[in-house]
Subunit: 301 residues, 2 copies
């Protein structure tokens, strides 16, 4: 099994070349029983997002937008169905995969996804997180393209404890990709798309300064002061994966972008109270922007 | 909306009493449109685990074991279906809920679950994580009941960054509960059940010293030295939720236990290669132990 920089990206793990087979446990694929190059060799774009349902919707949307033909009697199939911890749909050159919530869940997926792309001999792959977030000082429904991913100390690092020692990996995103995606917004859109910094928290309630968790140890004034500090530092939204996503893509040299809609303006409240219909419409917005970017790259526009 | 210590546990958040309604967003329930006391008021046990499929299996198993009658024409229903980020099944006095993978995903669930139990006016609830893990120095298929949950520095703390400052919450489990669950193992079982310390990592590959991730920066010798250090410190398994589970249960004064089967002996390898059939049998083992404990508590034995 070969390793190295020969597929447009780099798998920085010398042990991989010594493995006779590789079981990608959480995505229920393996090198021995699956012909990964045949199944995935043509993948050029990977879209990831938290929820399995949302990824199914994105796959259906891209199937239309990219004119991917599905033979009569067939339907898009969840490749992870029943066995994997993630939902995975393949739409021509695009793979849409759910990553669950939070950095650890995302990191398991990215380790196995990067190895999948490597084993499948994919080249020039771009990966985009299409997600949801809480906004700061933005109207709910605004789409934020992340210009820099920060941890909860507002540092551009993904921190891990490896063999008992703390290590910090730089969370670097591709600036050109972010700007190209931003350029796919249109004045005709009924929502705004902006560039901004994204803070990645490891919980939804306390680390995001919400007053409505089961536990809360701060006052409303302390919360508001903190959110205004974040805004002053250029943070426009908070989610739970960006810093690890950026650092892991950077580490393997795959271009990555984070495109999230904001479901709430945190300067005005904590709870997500929009109706299901409005929420669905919001969640389609980053999908539309990313769909346009992929169409453009595939020469369909 | 009342708050305080009046339901056998404590919701340490003074803001909750000021809220007119509470949207438990990720479990798709709310105080205004759902009669939570009617739906959940009789809950005495909550079982949580990573995978939705496994929680469905546990619910089916408990339905049999606890002789919970399901009226003709009905079936166990995923209360989160379609809208929630977690799968939730109610089997008489037991709620079985998936929590996804990793501390952040678990923490979102526990915040909302604790508020659900509070709003539903539940009393004397016990919560048990029924999960999977990597074992250290144990035959695969061994069940570990956690005596102490440790972070990757081998400290009994759940670390969060709240309003930009690091805070450490003690991860205390109920010793009596762990021993009572351990006492439900039987010499007739075709597997061992042991008490041991559990290390909680924030990733499956690098933080758990696996050589088979997309990224690996250490040698096999460094890995083995580290795993032997963990063993010497009393760690018998590694998973990805225990430290936050213990700390959050302790904070709200709900008795909690962690009961995980080991899928692999990390001293002998990294990859999870057992067949699906063996894996399913392994995953049923902690369910059997916990099922016996619940039967005993409900006076069914």
């Amino acid at each position: 099994m070969a390793s190295g920089r020969n597929h447009g990206f780099h798998i920085p793990n010398p042990h991989i070349r010594e493995m006779e087979q590789d079981v990608l446990y959480h995505i229920a694929l393996e090198t021995k029983s699956h012909d990964l190059p045949a199944m995935f060799g043509n993948v050029k774009f990977v879209c990831v997002g938290g929820s399995p349902n949302r990824m199914k919707h994105l796959a259906d949307y891209l199937q239309e937008q990219l004119h991917v033909e599905i033979p009569a009697g067939m339907t898009l199939c969840n490749l992870g169905k029943g066995k994997a911890r993630y939902a995975m749909y393949k739409v021509g050159p695009v793979l849409c995969v759910s990553h669950g919530m939070g950095v650890p869940s995302l990191s398991i997926l990215l380790h196995e996804l990067f190895k999948l792309l490597f084993h499948a001999k994919c080249k020039d792959v771009t990966i985009i997180r299409v997600g949801t977030s809480g906004g700061i000082g933005l109207d709910p429904g605004t789409v934020v393209v992340t210009e820099e991913a920060l941890n909860t100390f507002l540092e551009p690092y993904y921190t891990q404890v490896i063999l008992g020692k703390e290590t910090k990996k730089p969370s670097v995103l591709d600036r050109g990709l972010a700007e190209a995606i931003l350029g796919c917004s249109s004045p005709k859109d009924n929502f705004k798309t902006v560039l901004g910094k994204t803070m990645c928290a490891n919980d939804f309630y306390e680390e995001q300064a919400r007053l409505d968790g089961a536990v809360c140890t701060f006052t409303e004034k302390e919360k508001m002061d903190y959110l205004h500090e974040l805004y002053a530092a250029g943070v426009r939204n908070i989610e739970m994966e960006a810093v690890a996503f950026a650092a892991m893509c950077h580490r393997v040299n795959i271009k990555g972008a984070v495109v999230c809609v904001t479901l709430v303006n945190r300067l005005k409240g904590d709870q997500v109270t929009a109706t299901n219909e409005i929420m669905r419409e919001y969640q389609r917005r980053p999908q539309r922007i990313v769909g346009r970017y992929i169409r453009q790259q595939l020469g369909l526009d």
